[in-house]
């Protein structure tokens, strides 16, 4: 009986680790890309530029991976932005509204010139696709997100 318990324990441990590996691999659709090296993000985030806007296509599309606790500064886009949440748990807030939690499968449409910020939650990384119209000029970067704003319930 003891032997059975030991063998079952070993198999169940293998089972748990095997499942985890399958799940992690399948969730990474786009590689993380390059570490973002500017002051518009607080903490470590990664950008994989999937499409660069040009004269015949006005949208830029990028996959952004935020480590837990990491967020953008407040900013706005003169032609708006669409966010598709691919994995993990993130936060999104528009000026004058409450912070909301966004998860895999959620879609955000942010209208032009509305100050907002987004990032990972405090306890999980967050992966998003950002679709940003470039036809009316570049992103306008604003002030940092205060800890009280980031941590607000």
């Amino acid at each position: 009986m003891k032997n059975i318990l030991v063998i079952s324990g070993v198999i169940m441990t293998l089972m748990a680790s095997g499942c985890k590996e399958t799940s992690d691999k399948s969730e990474l659709i786009f590689p993380k890309g390059e570490k973002i090296n500017n002051t518009n993000f607080t903490g470590t985030a990664w950008l994989n530029t999937l499409v660069e806007g040009d004269s015949s296509n006005q949208n830029s599309v990028g996959s952004v991976t935020f480590e837990a606790g990491v967020r953008t500064k407040w900013h706005s886009h003169p032609a708006g932005q669409i966010i598709l949440a691919l994995n993990g748990k993130g936060y999104y807030q528009e000026k004058g509204k409450s912070k909301i939690i966004i998860k895999k499968g959620d879609v955000i449409t942010c209208k032009h010139d509305i100050p907002h910020w987004h990032g990972a939650s405090s306890d999980s990384e967050f992966v998003q696709i950002a679709i940003t119209g470039r036809e009316k000029g570049p992103t306008l970067w604003l002030e940092e997100v205060r800890n009280e704003e980031y941590n607000a319930k």
Copy 2:
């Protein structure tokens, strides 16, 4: 000893089915949506409209799931289209070029007014995000993709 083998067998069966379920669930980021009911697709495809273009956001964004063997007609977009392959194996072809195979993580940028078609491969379903500019008018639908075109190596 016989008991140990039986118990191990049961646990390994549970393990295999458990892992499969985890994997399938994790790959479905956006629900399939509604069955497409028009003649622009050959066979069964599903559309989940994530964003509808409007006056303040010119892009429509949709998740499309093609069953194996299913494709669009030839068509073109007056403001172009971006395709993000999320899962499965698909085909994409622009007029005058060879058909290419697209898989999870591939990105296609189709310039404005270029006739093209896309769909699932013959042996696998295919899931894509389509980002379509609406600012210059609707999609122009053209002729069906001939079997010789679809099956070309």
